[in-house]
Amino acid sequence: MHQPHGEPRRSIYFNYQVFPAYTGAVGAPHIARKPVVVVGAGPIGLTTALDLARHGIPCVVLESEQQVSEGSRAIVFTRRSMEILQQVGVADRVSGMGLPWNCGNSFYRNQLVFRMESPQAPDDRYAPMTNLQQPYLEQFLAEAAEANPLVEVRWGNRVTALAQNSDFARLEIDTPAGSYELDTDWVVAADGARSAIRTLLDLKLEGTSYEGRFVIADIKIDLDLPTERLAYFDPTWNPGNTVLMHREPGNIWRIDYQLPEDETPEQALQAESLCERINAQLEMLGFKDVPWEMDWSSVYSARALTLSDYIHERVIFAGDAAHLLPIFGVRGANTGFQDCHDLVWKLAFTLKGLAGPKLLPSYTDERVSAAREIIDEAGKSTRFMAPPTAGYRLVRDAVLSLSLTQEFVRPLYHWRTSRPHDYAESVLNCPTDDNDRFAVGPRNGALLLNIKLGENDYLFDRLGACFHLLYFTSAAFIPDALLAQVQAIRSSGVPFQIIAVTQNAQTRVVGADQLIEDTSGHIASKYGITQGGAYLVRPDQHICARWHQLSAGQLHTAIDIVLGKH
């Protein structure tokens, strides 16, 4: 019998809620069948469930625990993650509580040797980075899930076995009152780094495990420092190693430091060792006598691994279950949000019978290549932060030393933050459009560019769980043939909206679902387009086709391609 931890976890800043365990199906006479079962109510499982609900797909989320995650874990969320969280309705809560920031600093021998400021563009709603402890994010997502009639979260339900059939999977689930079985068309395995589903299917991750291990400690302390990334290389108290600091809400500070090579995690997490090292770091920063209190500590290793395929018959992997990425560059959770946002519309369209044979497999193609690209980039950061061999260490140390006087080596401190992946090679991109004939604007596969439309009003706020055609026009109506094509797409069941970007101060464009006024030409110039041109945008806000002059036939072709029918 599964016995999840029933006492609220201990935390200085977060009140854990223990959700009641679901036992309703134990002893039921029949095995129920669901369209989608998500395994894991971490950030990725819950976001997947909420995103599916936007497409009208109901799902069950099975979560082994009865409360959200222990400790702050992922604390830095990128702008793209915020945009995805906006789509599922929790971004306001995250930004209401989170700390926005956009600067990072690297120090060596008490000298600032590199500073990077990510631009806060006026067209973006969210800051480049927002710091918030993972339990808050999970709590916001869990509350949104509980309030959503299409999502059923079953706390205290642990998956223990899985059998694949040709058109469904059967899960065995253990609860505090006994076990039961559940059938589902699709399993989304979002059960984290130690994925039980991955183990049950005997799948291996490809890639490298680096030796570098980091202690992560959260302390409560009142420090007069800005919300910026602080990295200290080779500090006197921890020679050769790297220390990172981040501010979290509630006067909590994250201190990450690399373990000396010969030390075990158990040794490193001993109270005296933690205390001594945190004091040494604080003393180095000139905060010798500032009182502090420990909240949580753990050891994290720098790994860069991925499955080579995310879809295995009826099981689809997302988030940490699919890949393990180094924390440098905040790639853990931030990569997972992009996974599930890429997956969900494809899965929803598949369940609704709207997808061609290439749509769902494109999830694996797009996201495995994203993971490999991230692993490649993250490898560079990891080799600099935690050099894996004597050779790497020597060159890194030479760079540190040179960086005090030599400008040219300083860009090597760049920590390559998680960013939206560009699916330039996707089979869903239209090969016969005008993509190559654009001089500016986001290319096929790239993320749409946000636009500030007014006070507290941005383009991304207007986007829903459907295709959007951004149609640039100075006419008072959408051409008949184009509109007829859009009607045909809609009557096939594909949700589709026309957003007319008006260039002539028109107050109405007949046939358009929404109107965005662009008399200044700002949007047109950012998108490199003139009237009669258009961008076709997937439900995950990535572009799949663009034209200087759009015709009905071209739209028809592009939709067939993006639905994976070619």
Binding site: L394, V395, D397, A398, V399, L402, Q406, F408
Partner: protein
């Protein structure tokens, strides 16, 4: 590629030896790697640097 005169090469020889002694045995490696990076920057070519590294790996 520019070639050094024998006289120049002799100067480099002495400069390198003196600098290594100045750096001390404990810091000799670090010094050499710094020097290699500075030389690579002056050289301005990753490809040439790679060829030089391969040459230096011979007959160790």
């Amino acid at each position: 590629m520019n070639t050094m005169t024998v006289h120049d090469l002799e100067v480099v020889y002495d400069v390198l030896a003196d600098a290594l002694d100045k750096a001390s045995a404990a810091k000799a490696e670090l010094f050499l790697v710094k020097l290699a990076l500075l030389s690579a920057q002056a050289l301005g070519s990753a490809q040439t640097f790679n060829e030089l590294a391969q040459s230096a790996l011979q007959d160790l």
